[in-house]
């Protein structure tokens, strides 16, 4: 809490407005929100099935899969960015094919921002959803099966609603982590205003030349994320104890 207080105290309140209205700020903020949201969506699409496999299936190599999925948590994000280069860069394993066969290059694009953020943030979602799945009573799935529901129907109509609070919590964590992502993004996606410069990158660079501006940018990021999280909490998490209508 104290570092946040420090930001508030040191903020240059008098010339806050001119700093805020600089076009680069709005650009970076918009890119941050859009890319973090896209990364969260991608994480949901990929992460929830992975979490289900980790929690429910008995396939061999499950613990290896879990280790692989959680590696980005311990990997320094910059290393993660380099790893992404090695796979998706234009010299990378897959990236080379994309570049040479389809003339598609991923680095230094907004797509790269989303990929980097997904890479770093998805483990938060997977772990959270896997926990919720493990805590959920698997016998509900048995009950659904005896009522004629195949695996997919059961997953969609029973399992997913049961773990919805866990999925929501995981998505929020994932979004927050994606919003603050710096290392993998600046490495893999680079830093260019409007395309790949997200708020954390803008903050970091502002810190080099204009510390007050950096504080302003940090405050913007802080307030926007706090507001979003509070809003979501009211909508999803705050009601997890009572039935969802």
């Amino acid at each position: 809490m104290l570092p946040l207080l420090g930001l508030l105290i040191r903020a240059p309140w008098s010339d806050l407005w001119p700093q805020l209205t600089e076009p680069q700020v709005g650009q970076a903020l918009r890119l941050s929100l859009v890319s973090a949201t896209l990364a969260t969506l991608v994480s949901l699409v990929l992460g929830v099935p992975i979490a289900w496999v980790l929690a429910r299936s008995t396939i061999p190599g499950r613990s290896v899969l879990r280790a692989l999925v959680t590696v980005p948590l311990v990997l320094p994000p910059v290393v993660g960015g380099v790893a992404l280069f090695l796979v998706l860069g234009r010299q990378g394993i897959i990236g080379r094919v994309l570049h040479e066969q389809f003339d598609v290059t991923i680095p230094f694009t907004t797509t790269a921002v989303v990929i980097a953020e997904t890479f770093v943030a998805m483990p938060f979602l997977v772990i959270s959803v896997e926990g919720a799945l493990r805590a959920a009573d698997a016998r509900f799935e048995d009950a659904a099966a005896t009522l004629g529901a195949d695996r997919w129907t059961t997953f969609r109509r029973v399992t997913l609603p049961l773990v919805a609070p866990g999925v929501a919590a995981g998505a929020v964590l994932c979004w927050a982590r994606a919003l603050g992502e710096f290392g993998a993004t600046i490495t893999f996606a680079g830093n260019f205003p409007g395309t790949t410069q997200t708020m954390p990158l803008a903050v970091y660079l502002a810190l080099q030349s204009n510390p007050e501006g950096a504080i302003v940018l940090s405050l913007v990021l802080l307030f926007v994320s706090l507001a979003t999280l509070l809003l979501l909490r009211d909508r999803w998490l705050g009601r997890s104890g009572s039935p969802v209508t």
Binding site: R139, F140, A144, T146, L147, A149, L162, P243
Partner: protein, 348 residues
């Protein structure tokens, strides 16, 4: 006979190997202690657990054999679980309609049918509620409606009453009995409570350690238990021995006189309420009089259940008044007597 099941499952050290047959409209109770394998059998019948061997057929359809396993969701069955397992995120009505929706019925007709079933189980007007807003008995009724709504060929009941309190249990049991009487398919009920089994089932199968130890009508099982477990459940003292005419030499020593002549290895069953206790040897020299030590006494309504130790270990029910008048305390020396005509004897 519509359901034929030979279920073989290995669960750790326990090998479950059980044969069951249930006719259309018949209710079969599988009775047994915890860990005997009865729930395993039920899960195999439901298709939730592929068996390690055996064969399950319903009518002409093979559900399980060596080469074929029909998954649960393709079996026309309904199942009621111990703690109802109504989906907490769906309304009661949508819970009941669930089995219809998965089988392709459109939302509106499915809901209408569900509403009808809610009426039949006495829950008209509860359709909009959440399962958490129902009492235990109401939830179990809704669960029954959910299982029956698809008109299954096989109904599986897994300890359907054991999560209910005693009063609710009584009413739900009576209702369940009524619905089972109306149900045209086969019903398999798993329970460890003899009262549920006796009250609901046409036939009882007793499973212990993975195998069937006794099979028969509820009355047969209650009168002539074959194992200590069943005898204890139905409140009988069970004494193994060897009969020679109207005298049975017990394996544990002592003799019991019986009314019906028998020969060879037999079981002798004595109901606690037919046993009388005396402080001194009773007059008139009835044939079944044994000295015994009062090992323990537990109040049981207006009677006191007395466990007797001696050559003939019995349980006796005496009135609380008599118990007090005789000044009985554990360790007291008493005489126990029972009429030969009250003693059941049957081959082992």
């Amino acid at each position: 006979m519509s359901l034929h099941a030979h279920v073989v499952v290995r669960r750790g050290v326990l090998l479950v190997d059980v044969d069951l047959a249930v006719a259309d409209g018949e209710v079969l109770a599988v009775l047994g202690p915890n860990g005997a394998g009865k729930s395993t059998v039920l899960r195999v019948l439901a298709g939730l657990l592929p068996p390690d061997g055996g064969r399950v057929t319903v009518g002409a359809d093979v559900w399980d054999d060596d080469t074929h396993h029909l998954p649960a969701h393709e079996r026309p069955l309904g199942m009621v679980f111990q703690d109802h397992l109504l989906f907490p995120h769906l309304s009661v009505r949508d819970n009941v309609a669930f089995g219809l929706r998965t089988r392709g019925v459109r939302r509106a007709p499915a809901r209408a049918t569900a509403e009808g079933w809610l009426g039949r189980v006495g829950l008209a007007g509860f359709g909009d509620r959440r399962p958490t807003q129902l009492s235990g008995g109401q939830a179990q009724r809704a669960a029954l409606a959910r299982a029956l709504v698809g008109e299954p060929r096989l109904l599986l009941l897994d300890e359907p009453l054991s999560a209910l309190d005693a009063r609710t249990r009584l009413t739900v049991r009576a209702e369940l009995r009524r619905h089972l009487a109306d149900f045209a398919g086969c019903t398999v009920l798993v329970s460890h409570d003899p009262v549920d089994a006796m009250a609901l089932a046409d036939r009882v199968v007793v499973v212990e350690d993975g195998v069937v130890v006794q099979e028969g009508t509820p009355v047969e099982v209650a009168r002539r238990p074959r194992t200590d477990y069943v005898a204890r459940l139905v409140g009988l003292s069970l004494l193994p021995g060897t009969a020679s005419g109207t005298t049975v030499a017990l394996d544990g020593g002592g003799e019991v006189a019986v009314a019906e002549p028998a020969q060879g290895p037999v079981l002798v069953a004595v109901r606690p309420e037919t046993v009388s206790l005396y402080l001194s040897r009773p007059d008139g020299s009835p044939r079944n009089v044994w000295p015994a030590t009062l090992a323990g006494a537990t109040p049981h309504g207006s009677t006191v259940r007395c466990d007797l130790a001696g050559a003939v270990p019995l349980t006796a029910d005496v009135t609380a008044t008599a118990f007090a008048e005789m000044g009985l305390v554990p360790g007291a020396q008493v005489w126990a007597s029972v009429k030969a005509s009250e003693v059941a004897v049957y081959p082992r």
